[in-house]
Each structure stands twice: as C-alpha cells, then as structure tokens.
Symmetry: D2
Subunit: 297 residues, 4 copies
C-alpha cells in the first residue's frame, strides 16, 4: 500500500528508543529537532526522556504515547523494534524503524538519511507492510499463567543445562509429534530470518499467512521444520516426565519458566502490525545483503 | 469436505495403472471384479488393458476415460499417481490412490483393504482434499517451447556431469538472486515431502497456499529454502554464460533440455486436484510413519 | 583387539550403576549373582550398594573400586556410562556397558543376554576398542578454575535465555573465527553420534583421531562443523562484551558458569578409554539401527 | 615445512595452464619473462604453448615436463589446479597455484604479486603442505574398467534425470548401508570445502588423515555425512535393480558411466601431493574469507 496524501500523512509522532543506550542520544536528539521543524506534534516516553535530559520535552507513559500518536519512530536495534512492535500492535499505530548500526531485516532507515526519509514519509510517500504477530498463552492445568505477543517467535526451550526437553505438539487439536530436542521455535514470517533460520528453518516471505515450527537440535533426525497455516492453533505440552528445566520465551525478551504438563497455546493475533517502509522497499535486496547471496554481476 | 450421500457418490469410475507392471495385475483384476459387483460403470485405458488381457473390458483412450468418469482409481506407486494427477486436473476428476507396496504420502489405500475402502467411498464416506498444482512453461527468446503441469515439483538442474548451473530467480518480476547450484526445486506443498525434503526444504502443510524454492547443493551457504505465496510468478533464467547442460523436469517425469538464456516460468494452476481420502485421514500420522517421528508412548 | 586367554581374563570386577534408579535393581542383583558363581571377586561402590540393600556385599568408595578392579561392568543408560568412563580412564580399567532399555551407541550388552555375554568376556572372547577422551580446563585470567574430562563432548553454551553468546575459537594458537551462536560442541568421535549430531555434525568413525567442532544455531550460515586433528589444542574465549550468561558442560553432566574473557582449553587425554565389546561388534550395524538407515533388502 | 636454502630452491620449472583460455595469456607471458630473468630453466607443455604463440619457447609433452621439472607453476582456476595435481602426483613435483580471478581454497598466488611471491619461493622461503589424494577404480564383474586419481573427490551420481540411484557402501569389507540418493561424494580433506560442503559435509582440516562420505539429497533423512580413516577401503556398489543412469566423476573432470552391479573401489594414494604455499599461509584465514566467517572486530 502506498500513500500519496497532500496533507501531512501523520500529525502526532511518538518516539521510542532503547532505554539507557547513550549511543543513541545523538540520533534521538537529531530526530526530535527535525520533527519539530516539520510542524508535527512529538511525544516521547521514558525510553527517550532519559537520553534527552530534563526539560527536553514533556514525557508521557508508553500507554499514552501509543494511544495518542498516529506514527511511531523507533530508534534502536532489532531488540528495540521487537519490543516496540508488541506495544504498538493493539492501537494499530504504524511503526518506522531507525536503526543505529547495521541494516536489519525490517528495512529500517539509517540515521544518515533519516531526515530525508522521514520527510518522504510525512509527505505520504511510503510503503505499508502488514505483518502478523503471534500470541502465546501458558496454561498450568486450567489456569492461564501468562500471555504475551511475539513479532518474531515464541521459543520453548531447555535452560540452564545441555539437556533436551520432551514435549508434544498439537496442531488444531490433532497430535503432530513428540519431540526430544533443545527446543522448538514457533516463528512468524518476520521471525523466519531470525532465530528460526539459525535452527535450519526456511526463509518465509513476510506477508505469507504461515507459521513455521523449527525444532532446535532434535534428537530424531527426521524432525524437520514444518510450515502450517497462520490460522492454526499450536499447542506445545511439556511431557509429564520431562525433568529438565524448560522455559518459554517471546521474541527472546519475555520469559516464563515451565513445569511438566504445562501447555503453551499459540495463535495468530487477528490485528496486524503496520510497518512503514521507504518507497521502493525490496525484501529480496535485504535478503541478498543480509544472507550474503550473490548479486547479479 | 466429507460427503454422506445416500445414492452412490460416483457412477462412472476410471481405472488407471502403471503400464506394463505385471506385479499390479492381480490388484487391478480384483479391483475390476469388485467394482462390477457394485453397479458402477468402469472405464479402463491402455494402462490397465495391457494387464487385463483381451476382452476383459472395452478400452478407451485416456482422454475419453478422463472426460467420462467421475472418479479415478489409480493403482501403482508415487510415480503412477503423479502421472495420473497431471491428466485428471483439467477435468476435475477426483482421484483415489491404491498403492501396491509401501505407504505413500498421499494417503493411498492399500490393496489389502481396498474393497472395504472403496465401498466406503462409493457410499459417500470420504474426505476430499484439494491440492494445487504448478504449471511450468519454457521460453526461448519469445517462443514458448513447451509447457507441463506438476503435482510435486518443477526441478531445474544440471545433467550429465557433476557441475553446477548458474541461474537467476525472479519472483513476481523482481530479481531474487543469482545462484550457482546443482539445481533448484520449485515445490508444491504436496511435493514438500518428496525431492524438496531431501534437498533440505521444510515440510509444508498440504493445503497451505505456498510454493517452496529449495536450492540443491548451493555453492553459497546462505542460499536457503524460501517459501513464497502460491500466487507468485516464479521465473528462472539460465545465465547466458552457463556452460553446463541444464534440464527442467516436471515431477521427475516430463523433461526438457535447456539452453543458456532459456526462461522457465512457473505459476499455480487455478484449478485444484481433488484427492479423495478415506474418512479419518490424518496427515500427521502419515508424517510420523514416513519420517520416523516419535509416536506418543 | 581380540583376547583368547584360557585363564579367566578378568579376576576382580567392579560393578557401577546409576544411584537411586530402582528399575536397575533386578539387573544389578542378577549380575552379582552371576558373577559370584563365576569365581571372580566383585566390588561395588555406593551406586550399587543402595540398590542391593544392606549386607548384600561390602561397599567401597569409587576410588578404591577403580584402583582394584581389572574390569568394570556399568549398568545403566548413556549417562551412567559417560559418568563411569570419566572415573575409569585414569586407572585404565576396561569397561563393559549393560544397558537397561534401548540400545546405545556404545554396543552395550542387554540384560536379557548379559550372563552369556559376560561369560564370553570372562573367557577372553571380546573385542577391545580404545576411545580417546577430551580434557577441558577453564581459565579466568591466569587461574585454572576447574578441569574435567569428557567422553562425548565439551559444550560451551548460553544458558537461561534464548540469546546467543559470542566467542572466539583458536586452534593450536591460531585464530579460527568469532562466532555468535547458541553454543559450540567440541566432540570426540564417540560423541559425534550424540549432541553433535543433533547440531548438524557428521558421524565420525570411533577410532579416528579427530575432534569435531559443531556450532549450535550459528548466526552466520557459513559457520559449519569443522573436523581437526585429535592432537589440536582448542581454545574458546568468551568475548569481553558478551552479556549473555554462558556455561561449559562436560558430557552434559559437569557444569561450570563462565564470565566474559574466560577461556576454555580443550585437549585430547593421552590415555584412552578401554571399551570392551562382545566379539563381532559392528559399528555400522549400530549406526543402521540407531539412525534408521536402510538395511540391505 | 619451511625451507631456507641459500642456493635456488628450484632449478627447472614447469609452467602449466588451462588450454585455450586467452584471458590467461598475459599472466603466463609475464610469468615466463620473470622466470627467465631468474636463471631457472623453464619448461612448458601444450597448455601454455598455445597461449604464447610460436617460437616463444620449446614445447614438451606434459609427461616430459613432469619428469624433468622440480617445481610446477599452475596458472588458472580451481579446475586447472585439480587437473595439474593429478598429473604431478606420481613424480612428486611440488605445485604452486597462480589464480587468475578470485581467491581459491588452495592458497594460490594472485597475478598481482606473483613475481614477488615466486622470488620468495625460489629463495626457499615457502611452506610445503602435503595433501593426500584418492584413487578410484571401476570394476565390472572381475574387470577393472578404468582408474583415476582425485584431489578433491570421487562422486557417484545419477545423471540425465532427476532420479535417485541406489547403491551399497562397504567400508573395509564391511557393509555400511544402502542408500537411495542423488549421489555420494567421497572427499579428501582438500575436497571438503568443494562439492562436499554444498552437500552438507563438514570442513575437514587439510592434513587430517580422513575421508568424508557425503550423501547428496538422500531419501532417508538419517543418512548423514560420515568421516572415516584415510586408510579405509571404500567400495560403492550400484544396486542390481538400479534403473537410473549412474556415473562416477573424479574431481568433476574424469567421468565414466556405470551399470548396475558395477563397483567403485576408492583408496588413499600412498604418495602425497606437495603443495607449495607462501610463507605465513593460514588455512583459517582462507576459510574466513571464503565462507564469510566473522572476522575479529
């Protein structure tokens, strides 16, 4: 989807960053200066306030920032983007990544040309990619102990030792298999180029409605990655006699310890994340650069 | 989809088999005897006629069999099923596999219980799975040299020597990458458990609308399997300076030699193959048996 | 090496088992009864004493058992064998595995035919396989914090979260590479069919003088398993800015937490483990059974 | 091994190149001019003569060049080096690669600094790496149909179609397994970074006395690469009922068609190839560059 509005495409802009990372201060300050010169309202939360010093601008809680802004600029690395995505999803706030450091898979803007790129976006020249996210819930007997969203992946894994965990996987209520493995990655297409790829999973085109299940170091060599509909209900059950500490992790950021017989239920969030990209965004170009694929000579 | 008709679900039944394979004769004869006892009209083509001997029943060309029958019973192994699928697609004739020998991935019926299973199907108790197929066209300059369908996969590969071929891949008109590899498998979900799996591709759930591209022995280690929308237009171009003989193969059965600068264009066939399975068909059970996954103890 | 002594090949036999595993009690009791009937001296340590009850036989510390026996019978699974191997190495006591449950890779005897097999061994009809083991030392600055042997593998890995660790690998003092990965398995040939195999490593013939380094879920797709001389000095250095908790694990049993800049130095133990196998031991037969390779029809 | 002779280390130098590749003419001419200025005797065979034009220098058959020179300079790519290696092995002539184009795995000299590097080598400052090679013989019943050496690999493979071949593998006379696969690579350590790597094999340190067997697209997922002693006798038998055309290929250059029941017997050549490298040769540096491993920041 490409917008070409004549009036400013976005009027209230939230700026989110990685708390406490002083290396981002210059970028965030430059970003704020530029936005102020463009007659848009700017909101920051505690993550940016810390970098900007007192009196730089009024600071709001993340929840208010999210509910009031109509575009979020997220300054940081992949971790910062994943964190922001989970908080922006419910309010359908579109997100732009500004990546200090190396290029990420999310087609972020670099600080060097961010002013130019942001002006384009404010002028309505941008591409909007809609990416689905996952929701995971942890059940112990009948109780839901916790839930979290994930933009990249939900990972069930052993922790604390080199020992494999045992678990059953059900897809839409049907038994798929029992595995003995270091863990299982349940990945969105967005996450297919992250941890799932290291585990041997395929690249999944970002807008494909599919979820990939990638076993990590499976004991049985025939346990291969499997790609299922995004609408599938995936349930992982820690086996009753599993004696190794297990954990579930959402985007590698939200963690919860698991006990034998705990169940993790994973489904697609109906709402999609709105990812704003510069016009001319080319996913394959990013793949070629990141995966060191050959360029056409 | 499960039918539960009170009148016979199918009235005219075509029987297709592997020409010249005498090991199938008993099964085909038993099948015909059973069908005659069930008041359905039976059609055979040359593939079965040869096994049945003269006067067994009138023989029709495959094209007439396909246009007149409303169910096809296909006796043989995976190769026979793939061949039949390509001829049944256009007429939307549903297909049942009767597999002499080991279990296949297509949930075929075994000769041992075929009479029972066929009675169930004739009584309308069955599952109908719709599987998409691919169409490939080979272009040299502006000329279309040939086209064929594929149920499992279209494979572009070197032949005749251990040498890699060079080719470019375009997805929906956009350049994806240049590869130096033994070949590339472009696979349907049905084909994901065939050659693509040996090449390191993921299992893809049969009804997912996705195509998987799996490089065979790629020179660049970052060239990984990629899963795209089934609606994608995939174009493979043999590089101009490629000096190794190349070939394209449809289901490993229809082959065509390629020259430098030839282009293979692959798209999803709109029409889907109708695959009839016994009620209670369970894809995961087949995966567990074929891939030697662990059973729940 | 095959012995064919006319006098009893072994006179003092140590019995080692897994402490507290009551499922092994019958096997251990049966074993002791049989050994007593064969005029050999039997020694047990605490591991077996617990299963046998008071007064069953005099109990010695493991160290005395090891120094006095000239053959060790080890009852249990892979974990019990690995543990025993590390304590038997220094005294060069040959080891026989008696595996309750499924067949292991170490060509263990099953409880069903153990009396027959043991009589063969006592009669000098056996095969002796010599397997090398690894020694790992952990250094912090100049201090050696701990050392342990490993029969299967030394694994350096992240723990407690889904986050990759960063480390450098040096081989014989030369820099090999820097990796970002879940971990690295440094495996003996014996361990090549254990965790290293799940991580994508090759099978290494048991008596080959080689060590295999297998990265676990490496971030860089080109980081592949590498096989080096068994005489190599392998040094892993946790990168200074690595912020993820790291751990080193010996055979998955002896663990030690690591800090940034810690170094793990791994070398081959000069002494080899003596593994006694029934005559006619066939490594490939075990591979075929365990890896589900095809049998010759 | 590093030589530091005061007299010229080599007196008669053979120059070998790729016949008919005009892009190499400048390099070969520059090389000859330089060698003449260094008071060494230079021999060329037909491969270089063609590039140099008439009267450039006397031309000898390859066999005489090999028997008279005490160093061979080989100008070309990997294919030229592999071809030369097979002809130089028997006479124990050490070889230096001069690689026009990209860096190879064999630590070749680039044309840019070849004069400097060659002077170093003539002055005795060099490293000599000894690499073993394989010999393969093809037997039909009792007849040996052909034999060839291989520096990288012997590959048994299907050709002409996408169909798997069936074969048995014996190691030292013992049955290892039956496989259904596109083929099998039997690789030296030198070849471990060539085709075997694309097929999923490990990197094997160049001087390790080991042979790696890597199945290409095996039908059985448990058929993994296996590393055995270099002294092993490897025998591949094409299965009697194999109906797919099969071929054996040595370094991808010498090919021979196979029939059912043909046997290929592969053993290590006792003599080793002498590979001359510039002083300071670092195998890991080459791996890092070629496999795009991370450099230490």
């Amino acid at each position: 989807m490409t917008g070409t509005h004549s009036t400013p495409a976005f009027k209230t802009i939230g700026v989110i960053t990685k708390p406490g990372d002083q290396r981002l201060a210059d970028t965030v300050q430059g970003l704020l200066s530029h936005l102020r010169s463009r007659q848009v309202k700017v909101l920051v939360d505690e993550s940016a306030a810390e970098l900007l010093g007192p009196e730089a601008c009024p600071v709001h809680p993340r929840s208010r920032l999210v509910s009031e802004c109509d575009l979020a600029l997220v300054v940081g690395g992949d971790g910062t983007l994943l964190h922001a995505a989970r908080s922006l999803l419910d309010a359908s706030v579109p997100m732009v990544g500004i990546n200090r450091g190396r290029l990420g898979f999310l087609a972020d803007i670099s600080p060097e040309d961010m002013t130019e790129r942001i002006d384009e976006i404010l002028a309505g020249r941008y591409n909007e990619d809609r990416r689905f996210m996952l929701q995971g819930q942890v059940f112990r007997a009948e109780d839901c102990l916790m839930r979290s969203d994930a933009f990249n992946d939900v990972v069930v894994h052993a922790h604390g030792m080199v020992r494999m965990i045992e678990f059953d996987t059900m897809i839409d209520g049907r038994f798929m298999n029992s595995q003995l493995a270091d863990g299982l990655v349940i990945s969105t297409p967005t996450g297919s180029t992250a941890y799932a790829l290291s585990g041997g999973g395929p690249v999944v085109y970002p807008t494909l409605e599919a979820i990939c299940l990638v076993p990590i170091c499976p004991h049985t060599l025939g346990n291969r990655p499997i790609v299922v509909h995004s609408g599938s209900r995936i349930e992982i059950r820690i086996r009753a006699h599993n004696s190794v500490p297990a954990m579930v992790s959402f985007d590698g950021q939200v963690n919860h310890e698991l006990e034998p017989e705990d169940r993790i239920v994973i489904t697609r969030r109906e709402r999609q994340l709105r990812l704003i990209q510069p016009p001319g965004f080319d996913y394959f170009q990013i793949l070629r650069a990141k995966l060191k694929w050959s360029e056409r000579p």
